[in-house]
């Protein structure tokens, strides 16, 4: 079986997004967990000034999280531009986002700065290059905390050194169906990789979507870690999943088609949908779209994964939805998008 060719978004039959991020802290400033209110404010002030002055992207938006409504914060989480932890925090936290949403820099999350570049599909090399460019620009304006032995200093020992974390969000339904996922998880553990859910740290997998990221940030160069990810880890994940899909197609073709078509039918006719149920069904339909069993673009499914989240629905309705209204609007949105 050959993967669907999509020149614009490479390997998006399996890879939803790739991300590179850095943890950085300012020299001579206490870390967030030991800083006073005023010290946190000073870090925010310094960061805001730099974010708006340095040419980090064509257009950079700065947001003070204290001034955003809980709904706006939730929207940023659902778009993976800030973490849940950052959204739930209290004072003096901000984020700089490029208007194309590829770059986001969280200020006063766990570290003073968390710089990330996120792209659709398998584009780790591009995200890494852009991240390094942004880091070099920031260094012209900021004095980073750095130690000769331990490199860039971080709040948590797991981020010391390069402070770099690569992560790939992959859709692995066939490995789950063929019960091969546990093997992948064991292999990932041996390679010191973390396997997490849709929203990263502390989240469960929804819709057979997993985030795989490196755990070691010290003792290897940024390029070495990136090369291993680009040339070994991501291709291996893609190969495993494609092989599992081939096995399913050969051995249980009718069963597989049945599952996909049932999911598609439910999504096309449901009047009320919970988010977890919708994610599970969309996962099967996504597999069907990747295998050519349903006439639907992968991009439509991936857009739906985001659009059906609670904050996006509330935003669309321009009001606070009751639980039942939320289920109804979600089902309507899915029906409309699938029928287009």
């Amino acid at each position: 079986m050959t993967a669907p060719v999509d020149n614009e978004i490479p390997d998006n039959d399996i890879v939803l997004t790739t991300r590179s991020r850095l943890a950085r802290n300012l020299a001579d400033h206490p870390f967030l967990n030991r800083a006073s209110d005023m010290q946190n404010a000073l870090v925010m002030q310094t960061a805001q000034r730099v974010m708006l002055e340095a040419p980090l992207s064509e257009k950079t938006l700065w947001m003070d999280l204290d001034e955003l409504t809980p709904l706006d914060r939730a929207l940023l989480v659902e778009r993976h531009l800030i973490s849940r932890h950052h959204a739930e925090s209290s004072l003096h936290r901000g984020v700089a986002i490029s208007s194309d949403e590829h770059m986001s820099i969280m200020v006063n999350e766990e570290d003073h700065l968390r710089v990330q570049v996120l792209r659709k599909g398998s584009r780790l090399d591009e995200t890494f290059e852009q991240l390094m460019r942004i880091d070099s620009m920031l260094e012209q304006h900021l004095d980073y905390a750095f130690h000769d032995q331990w490199g860039y200093l971080a709040v948590c020992p797991t981020n010391v050194g390069t402070g770099i974390r690569f992560s790939v969000m992959v859709h692995l339904p066939a490995l789950r169906i063929t019960n091969e996922l546990a093997k992948v998880q064991r292999a990932a553990k041996e390679l010191h990789l973390a396997v997490r859910g849709y929203y990263g740290e502390g989240s469960e997998s929804t819709g057979h979507i997993y985030q795989v990221s490196n755990q070691v940030t010290l003792g290897r160069t940024e390029e070495e870690i990136q090369e291993e990810f680009s040339k070994s880890i991501i291709p291996a994940l893609i190969d495993y999943e494609r092989s599992a899909r081939n096995v399913l197609m050969k051995k249980n073709s009718m069963l597989l088609d049945d599952r996909i078509q049932r999911a598609y039918s439910v999504l096309c006719s449901a009047r009320l949908l919970k988010v977890d149920e919708a994610m599970k069904l969309l996962s099967r339909v996504r597999l069907g779209a990747a295998l050519g069993h349903v006439d639907l673009s992968l991009q439509t499914v991936d857009d739906l994964f985001v659009q059906i989240q609670p904050a996006h629905l509330n935003q669309q309705a321009q009001s606070t939805l009751s639980d039942n209204d939320e289920l109804e609007l979600r089902a309507l949105l899915v029906r409309n998008m699938l029928s287009q």
């Binding site: 030991r34 000073l42 004095d143 905390a145 390069t162 003792g219």
Partner: protein, 173 residues
């Protein structure tokens, strides 16, 4: 009865007969402990337990970081470091914590900052004010703290105004 080794009252009395010769030892509390003799009812805990490990408490456990005041015990408990200065203050103990977190890696081999950023006048003044403010709050001098806070706010406003002026002047200059 006095201690055999000093004038303090003896609290431990040991009588032993070896080869028909009686030997008496009377020791005060300090000298008894120095000689490793346990008092009745004061059996050392390690003799009471069948299994025990004597752990060498890290020398840094009670020490505080001179910059942020955190102790190593606090760092270990939360797995969160307090400030850049902690890395020097607890160098040895942090080394093993980092190696554990990094699967044995102990040295950075990656990128280094291209250019050490030199703090500008604004940052230097702000840092100085911050330190004074911290000291005032610690000393519960709240009136002084309020004055310092206002100065910090003004400093921030001045910087932004200065930047805007520069931007306005640029085209004609």
């Amino acid at each position: 009865m006095k201690c055999d080794l000093c004038n303090k009252p003896a609290v431990v009395h040991e009588v032993s007969i070896t080869g028909g010769k009686k030997k008496e030892v009377h020791l005060c509390l300090e000298h008894a402990q120095a000689a490793g003799v346990a008092l009745p009812g004061q059996q050392p805990i390690n003799k009471l337990l069948t299994k025990f490990v004597i752990g060498q408490a890290p020398k840094t456990s009670g020490m505080q970081c001179p910059d942020c005041g955190i102790t190593f015990a606090q760092i270990k408990r939360a797995n969160l470091i307090g400030c850049p200065g902690c890395y020097n203050a607890f160098q040895d103990s942090l080394g093993s914590l980092i190696e554990h977190a990094q699967y044995g890696a102990s040295s950075h081999v990656g990128r280094v900052p291209n250019r050490k950023h030199t703090p500008n006048q604004f940052e230097l003044r702000a840092r100085k004010l911050m330190k004074e403010l911290d000291a005032a709050v610690t000393a519960e001098q709240y009136e002084r703290a309020a004055v310092l806070r206002d100065r910090l706010d003004k400093l921030s406003t001045d910087v932004h105004t200065e930047k805007k002026d520069e931007q306005v002047e640029e085209p004609g200059s």
